[in-house]
Amino acid sequence: MKIANKMTKAVDLVQEALEKVEKYKDYNIFTFVNAENALKKAAIIDAKIKKGEPVGRLAGVPYALKDNFLSPEGETTASAKILTGFTSPVTATSVKKLEDEGAIMIGRTNLDAFAHGSSTENSYFGVTKNAKDKTRVAGGSSGGSAVAVALDIVQFATGTDTGGSIRQPASFNGVFGLKPTYGAISRYGVVAMASSTDCVGFFTREASDLDLLMSITAGRDPKDQTTLPDFYESSEGDKKDFPGQRAGYDRALARDTRDDGLARRVSREVLSYRIGVIKDFKSDILDKKVKELSAKGFEIKEVSLPTLKYALAVYYVTVPAELSSNLSRHDGIRYGFRSKDANTLSDLYEHTRAEGFMPENKRRIMIGNFVLSSGFYDAYFMKAAKARTLIINEYEKAFRDVDFLLTPVSPNPAFKIGEKVNDPLAMYLEDVMSVPANLAGLPALAFPAGETDNGLPVGLQLLGPRRSDAELIKFAEENL
């Protein structure tokens, strides 16, 4: 990461990023550009450096913020009409931690409204275009953030991943994307989609930058009771303490202590990771990568997780159920858009929500209310919750035999804009390989793995047991 110091001025870094924002305007990446504030903040950092005062680990680093993170800079809309006009008086914990280290937000990025989608086509602000081919989708829902990093406008961008919203756009645009262990980074101040699977994460062009960002943002937050106590230890620390040794983690120790929150990284002799591939989750690019890793001496094992074929159905029951509850707060009364066409209170609710939500938001809210409604609750919502247990158990079993699982991120590379927009189910099927990690709360790292014959980037993802985030990043740095 290029950080401001005596040689590199923060103002220059920010200026350069703002020029690129202008240059790539036709990709429709940003919903808000933070030019004035960003330059002011950069000048303050430069003045500190000049005076020899301490600055943070991300001093002057320009970044892009997915527009579902609350902060007072620009309106937080989640790319939905119903939140237009909403400037948040509160700041998300993750944003605060980044800003405390001197990172500078250049702009807010486009997403599928409320993160409902896999293409960034379902946005009130229009479609974001793919970094490599403007006739194709950016992926989604964090499409704007992925493209901002792929086009080198910013050094990193934030994202949220409820069912693949970081990993799939990372794969479509050829960058790294990390969905951490559930609970690693505070969700406070992030527009809620599905509370049991939502994760904050990042896009970068280097795997090592993910380590720095995790060491800054992960950790317990009293404002989010589902944050894990400080489990993330940067691999940088190990390097300093144990020069010449490969940092790994003691698998036996991690397994013994995983459940009580005490799992810790320990340095040890070089160990050979065992990589699992999942039957039915295959692709040509995956085969090539497997051969590469095998040639490097890693043991490759095929594992079977038979319930994964139900994961997408589980996801499209559980997540709509949760989001239909989370979105019920948007009523047009306290903040955001309010319909002018209302004579009574119930009119106001109904018209504000009718005008303010995108069609995909409405579909998902209705599915959620269907699976929760009396008569269907047991057959759908409860059934999915039980299937989720089976999926979690199968992963736990697989991780007794292998250290990581390597799978494709999505069934195909970036598709044409408009290709799937009228077929919701086809769009959902995009998520078939990404949702299982969210259902089980596992960390998953998408990395660029190759290109199609016509030059489209294709990523793969590496999954590990809960709390293995640092190991995943370390492995990616060294071997991917």
Binding site: T87, P89, G183
Partner: protein, 95 residues
């Protein structure tokens, strides 16, 4: 499972939004497809399996019963509403 216009009206009511006729027609087809897909779950044997509603490993996260400092005060929150009078939010008549 067949989805009827009445089902769509009922779900729209539960969802607290109104729908245009054209929207209802397209939602009927979309929801039918999606529900057919998620109905695959009935083929899975889950007898004796306990449900998972969340994957956070810890239970009973306690804190002291005290008011924490808030990022936003009353004024800044009230400033977010479209209609305010005398520190109160105005809404249309209830009935």
């Amino acid at each position: 499972m067949k989805i009827t216009r009445e089902d769509i009206d009922h779900l729209a009511e539960l969802s607290n939004f109104s729908l245009e006729d054209a929207e209802k027609e397209s939602l009927k087809g979309d929801l039918e497809n999606i529900i057919q897909y998620i109905s695959e779950l009935s083929n899975l044997d889950t007898d004796g399996i306990s449900p998972t509603f969340q994957v956070f490993e810890m239970e009973n996260v306690w804190r002291d019963d005290e008011i924490l400092a808030q990022d936003a005060d009353r004024e800044s929150l009230l400033a977010l509403t479209k209609e305010e009078e005398d520190h109160q939010i105005k809404i249309p008549k209830v009935l």
